[in-house]
Symmetry: C2
């Protein structure tokens, strides 16, 4: 898997994947940002990577699926390098018949077993999850 | 640091940071992709995170700086979860007077000491770097 990166300005970079899809990344202050930062990309990557697996499992088990949302919070250590000590993901799953046990199992499996992003970062970072099923 | 995620379709998700900057992510096949995948985001994050620090160090040391590009290659393990066993980043730095020793030092420091993304993933993943200075 390959990406290439170009310089836009000191705080902004453009990346491109092998399919020529592009992405802008910036490290500007919160009130001046136009794009996600590298650490926000990491949160986005783990949250969405697991979500794909969760949806796939819900559908494979023939459970009703209407929607999935997530809120993710990354906690960084105070000293440089400020890696994530923990990432807390809460999934909101809209389904008529998914049970709590099933949701817990699918989310755990996705984050711990199937999600490639989660398994790349889970040595240093504790990934916690919670969920809510909305009928 | 927080992000929220919305479902678009089974292979496409939208994320938003606290500044309301949005990003689409997809896990479609290479020939059908419109956006970067979660694992491509990880490569993009580490490459750009370190690049910001590299440019900052070059400028602080009053060296000429014209441009920086990068090519990054991620190698995944064969069995699930397919985390990155190694990430190889090559930086191309356009400068009239930056020396090889300086470039090596700034890139190493960025990846190993300052870059928060690199330090989040470097337990499981070997991050290798190389560079070329272009006059």
């Amino acid at each position: 898997m390959k990406i290439s990166m170009d310089y836009v300005n000191d705080n902004t970079f453009k990346v491109q994947n092998q399919s020529n899809n592009e992405l802008l990344i910036d490290m500007c202050d919160l009130d001046k940002k136009n794009h996600l930062s590298p650490m926000e990309l990491l949160l986005s990557a783990v949250t969405s990577c697991a979500a794909v697996e969760i949806v796939s499992m819900i559908k494979k088990r023939k459970r009703d699926f209407k929607n999935i949302l997530a809120k993710t919070n990354g906690t960084r250590v105070d000293t440089s390098p400020r890696y994530f000590s923990s990432i807390d993901i809460k999934y909101f799953i809209y389904s008529d018949d998914l049970t709590n046990n099933e949701a817990e199992r699918y989310i755990s499996l996705s984050l711990e077993k199937y999600c490639s992003v989660g398994s790349t970062i889970n040595d240093k970072t504790t990934i916690n999850h919670s969920f809510e099923i909305i009928r």
